[in-house]
């Protein structure tokens, strides 16, 4: 995709390392307004790190992250917090506050950031919960929810301040097929109904191909392929092929780097 002013998030020549370990190299990536963009790759390839860089929880070692025209790393604390108020994030397992009810979880951002009277907050929270189909669960505790329900509550909380951007970290991980479809459809529907922009980080090819407008593939910290779902399905690139078809071996090796097996068995010291 070429860069336009319609891009809400732009990552340019981005690199990041945890100490000595280089996680991302030279990432260029654009997320256009109003679209659902998937970032896909194997476990531990640096996908979640990208979300943390967009949200300003981590600082890039090189390159820049722009969100709504602002360079995230240059923002001071107050402006970064002002930006985060416009970003919703769904964490991998929901990250609901376990000491609060579902209702209070969704009300949390409103109570922290607005001066709205409690009656208004009540109505807004019920509307948000209704949007994810869980109005009836308002008084439950997070411990009483199934994985799929927790994810939907977290989604209601992520959209509670009507954000411009919602980031999803592995929204499909560990869900049964029905919950999977429900969460997938919710991501798409909320995106279109509320006019938000969505970034979905996932390794679930099948589910994400159904809902995204554009996909980036990350491997070893680099963008190795990108395209629309139709382009991805017909791609002949070995990596994309291996990923989409779930083949165990290919450009992504099955074995973690090690000595050749014969060598290790023959010359291993006992103990």
């Amino acid at each position: 995709m070429t860069e336009t002013t319609d891009d809400l998030v732009v990552l340019r020549e981005l690199a990041f390392a945890y100490g000595e370990r280089q996680v991302l190299h030279d990432i260029n990536l654009r997320i256009p307004r109003g679209k659902v963009v998937g970032i896909m790759g194997g476990s531990g390839c640096g996908k979640t790190t990208i979300l943390r860089l967009i949200g300003g929880q981590l600082r890039a070692s090189m390159g820049e992250v722009r969100v709504a025209g602002e360079v995230v790393a240059e923002l001071d604390r107050d402006r970064l917090y002002a930006l985060r108020r416009k970003i919703g994030m769904l964490f991998q397992f929901g990250a609901l506050f376990t000491d609060m009810t579902v209702f209070d979880n969704v009300a949390f951002p409103m109570r922290e950031h607005t001066e709205l009277p409690e009656e208004v907050i009540r109505d807004l929270v019920l509307l948000k919960l209704h949007a994810v189909g869980l109005r009836g669960a308002a008084q439950l505790r997070p411990s009483e929810l199934s994985g799929g329900m927790a994810r939907r509550v977290a989604l209601a909380r992520a959209i509670s301040l009507d954000p411009m951007l919602v980031m999803y970290d592995e929204p499909f991980a560990g869900l049964d097929p029905i919950s999977l479809g429900v969460v997938g459809q919710l991501i798409r529907r909320l995106n279109d109904a509320l006019g938000i922009t969505s970034v979905v980080v996932t390794h679930d090819v099948y589910e994400s191909l159904k809902i995204v407008d554009y996909l980036y593939f990350i491997s070893d910290g680099r963008v190795v392929a990108s395209g629309t779902p139709a382009e991805v399905r017909s791609s002949t690139m070995p990596f994309v092929h291996q990923f989409v078809n779930g083949e165990p071996d290919g450009p992504v090796p099955f074995h973690y780097p090690a000595l050749p097996l014969t060598e290790e068995l023959m010359y291993a010291e006992p103990g």
């Binding site: 929880q57 108020r85 397992f93 990250a95 609901l96 506050f97 922290e112």
Partner: protein, 270 residues
């Protein structure tokens, strides 16, 4: 493992040095964390219900253990004290012995030790688990500072609770001493209370005890919130942090108690 090129001594020196440097780095990090907690404490008082909730969890829920332990410690003091005082024919001074031991030392110290194991460990485990389940990270992404919203109210809730618990411990201990001394052994109640009243000074004994409690409370709560916030986000990480809270708090209480006692009672020719 020491390599062949490196002698055993050099290896040990290197290890000791590494441990010391790590400890100093961690101490520096803890100090910066403490400064951050203090500078973000405004919300703990502006939104007092948040702190009130923590006073309930740290303070009110510690009441049973404090009341029961205080009473028993006082009763034991009564028995042991009577046994010794009686040899010198001054068993009426039992009230003085019980009250001074409790108000000056045992009240603040034992209450703080119990508080560290009851409330300090709970604070560490709670914050550590919130971190492990990404709740703190989620809060940050919602533009809410976890130090202001989660850490500071827990810190101040504990600091406010501790002196009250310390005083309650001493009060229950004196009551326990009274039960044993007056009701069980039969010392004259007038002598028990009267000698206590003339011997215990409000500023020198009670107020100093409260100051000790406050210092212990601050130390325990700071250790507890720091260990929780710094815990590796795994099951072992949180359990290790909880253990460290209890061990470090107990050592800090005993060490600080000695230092405070030296400063407070030096002028008395002790």
């Amino acid at each position: 493992m020491p390599s062949q090129a490196e002698s055993g001594l050099a290896w040990w020196l290197r290890r000791v040095g590494g441990t010391v440097v790590d400890a100093i780095v961690r101490l520096g990090y803890a100090s910066r964390f403490a400064a951050a907690v203090l500078t973000h404490s405004g919300s703990a008082f502006r939104r007092f219900p948040l702190t009130l909730r923590e006073i309930y969890f740290a303070g009110v829920l510690s009441l049973v253990i404090i009341i029961v332990s205080g009473t028993f410690v006082g009763m034991v003091l009564g028995l042991q004290g009577y046994d010794v005082l009686e040899r010198y024919g001054s068993s009426e001074a039992l009230g003085v012995l019980v009250s001074l031991s409790l108000v000056r030392e045992l009240g603040p110290v034992v209450a703080a030790l119990l508080f560290a194991s009851r409330a300090g460990s709970a604070i560490t485990a709670e914050i550590g688990l919130m971190k492990a389940t990404e709740q703190l990270s989620a809060m940050e992404m919602m533009a809410v500072d976890p130090i202001a919203r989660v850490v500071a109210p827990r810190f101040w809730g504990g600091v406010i609770s501790m002196p009250i618990l310390g005083l309650l411990f001493s009060t229950m201990g004196i009551f326990g001493g009274y039960l044993v001394g007056v009701k069980l052994i039969g010392i004259d109640a007038g002598a028990f209370w009267g000698q206590m009243q003339s011997a215990v000074d409000f500023q020198r004994d009670i107020l100093n005890g409260v100051v000790k409690s406050l210092v212990f409370g601050a130390a325990v709560c700071l250790i507890a919130v720091f260990e929780g916030y710094d815990a590796p986000p795994t099951a072992e990480g949180v359990s290790g942090a909880t253990t460290r809270t209890v061990v470090a708090s107990s050592l800090a209480i005993l060490g600080l108690d000695f230092i405070l006692t030296v400063f407070m009672f030096r002028g008395l020719g002790l």
